[in-house]
């Protein structure tokens, strides 16, 4: 299982490095969304709002949806699906591998967006650094959930539009827990509750993915 996971993760990351879809399409989209969030706040609040963490996560969430689509699109050209199916890969390993690759990509994009939030929304640098562990775990949970929901919608009619409908409700607690722990890192406040939510979500998605990913694959 772990061997398959590493093989699949390395393959996904290599494809990403070569195609640069992340760099040339996803990251610019995220940066633009961040700028638009600032504009939406209005000139009085754009640089001094406490909404920084919330906007950071909202943008990350939409960026994550694009990346989940991309992660499934790699597999879903008809020929690739057939050839890879005849390799008989362990589905639990494929799930873990794709989640791992997505997680690394989300971390990379998250760092860029975090830098953007510090720069344009004037989020405090020190608080952002303190929030890094919680951001890391939130994005990891998003990656596991996203891989699962991506497989749920893969190949169906209108997969690209169905994915957000199914995924966003599941992202709601992650958004809340991530935003609250980020705000706590900036302004102080309760923390352990958010770690509970994040840990439970991460464990649940990993467990369900390992157990049921094979069930979701076509045929």
């Amino acid at each position: 299982m772990i061997r398959t996971a590493l093989l699949v993760a390395a393959k996904d990351l290599r494809i990403e490095l070569r195609s640069r879809v992340l760099l040339w399409q996803v990251v610019p989209f995220g940066v633009m969304a961040l700028l638009l969030s600032g504009l939406a706040l209005g000139p009085a609040h754009a640089g001094s709002s406490s909404a920084g963490p919330g906007l950071f996560y909202l943008v990350t969430l939409f960026v994550a949806l694009l990346m989940i689509n991309r992660s499934q699109a790699i597999e879903s050209t008809p020929g690739t699906r057939a050839s890879v199916a005849t390799l008989g890969l362990d589905p639990a390993g494929v799930f873990l591998g794709k989640s791992l690759a997505l997680c690394v990509e989300l971390w990379a994009t998250g760092l860029v967006l975090l830098a953007g939030a510090i720069l344009v929304l004037h989020t405090a640098l020190h608080g952002a650094l303190v929030a890094l562990p919680s951001i890391g775990v939130t994005l990891a949970a998003m990656a596991a959930a996203g891989t699962l929901y991506g497989a749920l919608t893969a190949g169906g009619d209108g997969a690209a539009t169905l994915l957000p409908v199914l995924t966003l409700p599941a992202f709601a607690p992650l958004l809340i827990a991530g935003e609250r722990s980020f705000s706590a890192a900036l302004h102080g406040g309760a923390l352990w509750e958010w770690w509970v939510i994040l840990a439970v979500a991460l464990v649940v998605y990993l467990a369900i993915g390992v157990l049921l990913y094979g069930v979701l694959e076509e045929s």
């Binding site: 169905l162 199914l166 409700p169 607690p173 809340i176 939510i197 649940v204 049921l212």
Partner: protein, 240 residues
Amino acid sequence: MMKQLSQRLLGPATLVLLGLTFWLGLWVTPPDRVQGDLVRLLYVHPAIAWVALYVSFGTATIASALYLWRRTRSYVMDRIAYCAMEVSVVFIVLTLITGSIWGRPTWGVWWAWDARLTSTAILGVLALGYLALRRANEDPALRARRSAVFAILSAINVPIIHFSVQWWKTLHQGATVFTSSRTVLVHGSMAWTLLFSFVGFTLLFFWLLRARYRLEVKREASSSAQLDEALASRRSEGTF
């Protein structure tokens, strides 16, 4: 024999209990000292919410789990899950509407960032997502597997969503409006009415589920008749 009798009595029993609930709720029970006539929503809203959140979503989840388990895997379970989820959408919408009607005079707004309200709304999106997912997959086996996994994921998500919204709210503001103004002391005729409403709406759910299930079986039968036709016409392509 017993099964047939109970199935035949399901409809009338539902009507009688709901009729009793409305009569007791609207005319017999007294208005509340604080909430006045608004308290009568007590005989509708909690029972509908109970059916929406626990009975119907629970039925869909259990049927989904039974479908995924190899030993109990059958399209009966898949159909029950699908039909229960469809009925649950109706009850979730009713829960939100009755909750809003109650909330407007109590809180002064149609929508409040309350944990129960928010998680019910998200649950509604999940239930609609389930129906959308079913429409997106044509192959019956794949559709059944994927929707079963989604139903189970959703059921696990609901408590996570609920707690996160509750903590999000309470850690920020202290006590919610719910605990103070909505508490009603229940006694006498009110308790009976409440009991009738819970049993009545639960029976209504099973009645609707049964009707929807029968409809689904008929729909499948008609599409399998179409299938025989399609097979015959496909085979005739081969004769020159």
